[in-house]
Subunit: 660 residues, 2 copies
Amino acid sequence: MLNTAGPLMNANKVRVQDTFWNRFTELVRDTVIPYQWQALNDEIPDAEPSHAIRNFRIAAGLEEGEFGGFIFQDSDLAKWLEAVGYSLAATPNPALEEMADDIIDVIGKAQHKNGYINTYFTLKEPGKTWTNLYEAHELYCAGHMMEAAVAYYDATGKRKLLDIVCKFADHIETVFGPQHGQIRGYDGHQQIELALVKLSQATGEERYLKLAQFFIDERGADPNFFIEECKQREGYSYWTGKQEPIPTVQQMAYNQADKPVREQDKAMGHSVRAVYMYTAMADLARLTGDQELLAACRRLWENTTKKQIYITGGIGATHHGEAFTFDYDLPNDTVYAETCASIGLIFFAQRMLLAEAKSDYADVMERALYNNVIGSMSQDGKHYFYVNPLEVWPKASDMNPGRRHVKAVRQKWFGCSCCPPNVARLLSSLNSYVYTSSPAENTIYMHLFIGSEANFTLAAGEVAFTQQSSLPWKGEVRLEFTAAPASAITLALRIPSWSRGQAVLTINNVKTEYETLNGYAMVNRQWMPGDTAQWELALDAQLITAHPQIRVNAGKIAIERGPIVYCLEEVDNGTPLAVVSLDYTKGLTSQFDANFLGGAVIVEAEGLADETTTWEEDTPYRPLTLQSETKKVKLKAVPYYLWGNRGEGEMTVWIRKSMA
Amino acid sequence: MLNTAGPLMNANKVRVQDTFWNRFTELVRDTVIPYQWQALNDEIPDAEPSHAIRNFRIAAGLEEGEFGGFIFQDSDLAKWLEAVGYSLAATPNPALEEMADDIIDVIGKAQHKNGYINTYFTLKEPGKTWTNLYEAHELYCAGHMMEAAVAYYDATGKRKLLDIVCKFADHIETVFGPQHGQIRGYDGHQQIELALVKLSQATGEERYLKLAQFFIDERGADPNFFIEECKQREGYSYWTGKQEPIPTVQQMAYNQADKPVREQDKAMGHSVRAVYMYTAMADLARLTGDQELLAACRRLWENTTKKQIYITGGIGATHHGEAFTFDYDLPNDTVYAETCASIGLIFFAQRMLLAEAKSDYADVMERALYNNVIGSMSQDGKHYFYVNPLEVWPKASDMNPGRRHVKAVRQKWFGCSCCPPNVARLLSSLNSYVYTSSPAENTIYMHLFIGSEANFTLAAGEVAFTQQSSLPWKGEVRLEFTAAPASAITLALRIPSWSRGQAVLTINNVKTEYETLNGYAMVNRQWMPGDTAQWELALDAQLITAHPQIRVNAGKIAIERGPIVYCLEEVDNGTPLAVVSLDYTKGLTSQFDANFLGGAVIVEAEGLADETTTWEEDTPYRPLTLQSETKKVKLKAVPYYLWGNRGEGEMTVWIRKSMA
């Protein structure tokens, strides 16, 4: 059943005000955005230069020089601008807005007469536009600029960038399509599809939605566009600089173009491409009522989030192609779990929540957000993980080439720096992920427990309330209404999977029963200004096991507490970390430590440490009978998102299970 | 203390006659050698062509065509010829000898007037000989031909190939050296060093030993030869076909040329290169009395066999560069453990045993031989593993690119087919590894328990005995003397580490006490023809743990029984194999099964299987509290060397440890 009555909430109508999250949004506003501005301007000492702004200035004729960076470098600036838009929406900042306006002027100057924007093709291969969609990311960069324009317009009301990207979109619409002389193709890296949906919604232009649908419908159709395009180029590859064999249809799975999207049922290929595409598919299914497309979205959601997801909300098991591998193959040490992929998964979850309100989507969204995504950024906002491992041995990251992609410490900036600006734009638009509403059904869904002031326009009238949340450390959430219509409306409160159904509702201090639907407590009543609703969720540390098909986690357990996944670090538990095991028969104790990296609940457990002192250096293997007793130890587990903030050391999420 | 009094035993004087090993030597003689002949002639359907013989025929002017295969393809033919030599020594075979003579004629025709042999440079880059030692394997191929020549001469007394390689060696001696106009360098892939030692011993030519020593002494000296050579070529790389950055001294660790060999103390870089070099170093240390070189050998032995070895005797933890990584980094699933590397380790062990008789060398030799090496070959002798994993999930080998080098089934032949002919030459020269002797000290060391007829010439006179061995299934070994001198000699019987010192000596049916030295029972007496010595070794299944620094094996145990390492296979224990654990508090039962792949002892254990039935497909993670009881199961472990002979399936050597 399509929830077509529930459009995307305007982000301006929800304002995050939350003890836990303010720290992140302030960090993004005060540190990350300025820092990334420096990075985009190549001003970070000892970090790889970005070239992104310089490329635009050269293309605009404001500077002399050559194109630098990746072929898709433009997108980094776009993602930064998008983050700026969200940030300005939350907190006006004239100086920042002026910086943004200035660079938007530069973008306008770099735009071709026909609307085309791409500094790589402008500067390096002017005659080659639209000849290598398979590799060149032109539409991907276009999409990011569209998302930036929508965000900036929403925040400031300024149309300049929006007009720039509309002109570009109009140009793209003439170039791509089923008509003779048009390119019947699509981009090698999906992104423009979801951006065109946003642009359509921001401008009211149905044409942009249709163009998004064209790209989605064409993808994977026979004959395969990429293969035909490669033949046209005689196999010339941008990446290798020479002729390569024409790829096979099977190889197109890397770009999710091996078969039509409606026939896909397993998450395959490059994981960021995949989830960006699924996001657009869910948008289109919802907005066009396409049941077949929605069914494909559900299948791909199930496969991604039930068989190919890490407990941290990471996806993509291999760095070879930054890709999915296959069901239940989730190695903790050679893992990829790219930050951008988890962000794309959050987009996908959000769109599925708009299509159908089921708490499973929000459970996964919350898992990815509180663990993989915020864990990718250092506490100072200036260092990032691109790969988010569940097990780290720094020496192996250094000396075993198969683990070299797994960094043991967050890096300053990356040559291919997709992840840091992606984190910035997600965290600065967090308000979009907390609620959805169905105006026609007079229903407000609360998906995330994040303190906020929220306003909704339902059929019955205006609703306003504040949410106060003690998450992630405690399970108490409190709503207070400041405006409500004169008739009954439904407040749908998510019952998170980690509460195991133990969720108590108290309205105006009276404990109240409720009915549940798809994982939400459905509370239908006439609310009055001043009414309060308390939502108390069981939030305690739990031991978690993995599906037996996930072979690497056999005999191991992880610790979760509410939405937070925990890990053991060498700094607390010694080395080698693998010698300790957790006694699952004993309880876990949780305690808030205000001094721990900005304040966090630490979980302690009883454990055993294998005896190591009687091992001689020259004995790699010996009979078990020689092993002495294990000794009892206290284990200290810390939130996964905080790992690696206290120097370099071993880390593990999955811990061997033992019994004293 | 150098055991300079103990030269290499002449292989012709030991004849293997052993229930367990005859099967392998017959397989090599009757199947492997003919099959590899077909392979070298490109006659195996559906396998990658070798080109090796065709290259020689073209170079000899007997055929038209172009060079094919790897730049070091010549070595495959050389290794085959070497195996033929050993096989003919054990079992005359006129037809095989004729085939060998014919191809030796071809090799002679392919030899340049100045002695040079290499079909790649003859056919493809005639003007470029000796310009790319770093990459081109010219001396490596030369070394293999020398080893073949020595083996063939020893077996047949025919000098033709020996004369060919001596002419080649004489040429090399003019090209390489410290004199002006000579190349002060060495090969990118060590091998000629150990071959020149053999050639020196076979011909009595001290010059060849000196040339080996030159190569060893120069290696890693400053300025670095490879770097200087790369500069000369302006960075041109054979492998990439273009100019590459000049490598750094650190990168020379891949070729063990980052520092002089006497300063090396960790096994680094390409593992086959490393152990071939260590072998030559041990030869030279022994033959020249070079204590500094022997000390380096001891250090490198310690590091390789105490910190960088798998329980199966495999070495080399990564497929990136087929290389060592660092101490205790021994992943079971992304492992390399190349067959050739274990064979090279056996060479190294043999040379160390000749330098100083310590049972540790033989323990490691035996471990590599009975597990990694013979496990690399299928029961039909026609399929091989290049990589010898300790944990296999066939689907991951297929679909996770980081594990694609780990094949789940043995392959027919490899484009780079170094391993199969290496196995053939080792197994057909097994007689060289059973004993060493010190004629001056009238001592015979028995290192391996392999049925054989052996003759030794000691200072005191001739000794002859037969060994009957019930290994690896039982621990009873029996010697019967057929000739002995009139004075006392010492029989040194190895006390294998797996016997935990429980080794009972019975002479002429009388239990006899003995003294031990360096892991050997030293039995000094005057033996008479007809005397018997029984050597009873405790040989029972044991549970083994790994050093706590080997993180991947934490909480796991392996099963060993005598020299044989065991594993669990899916065909016997179900899937996922990871759900089972072994109850270490219960006993192991061993039973010989005559019908199991030619007969083998199977080990059974009590185990637990994690409950899998209550897991829904759509639940990747769930609280431990929902987990049902484990159920008791019988585990069936089979010898590692026999894994993968009953279809494709999961396999593991290391098993989770549990307690019911």
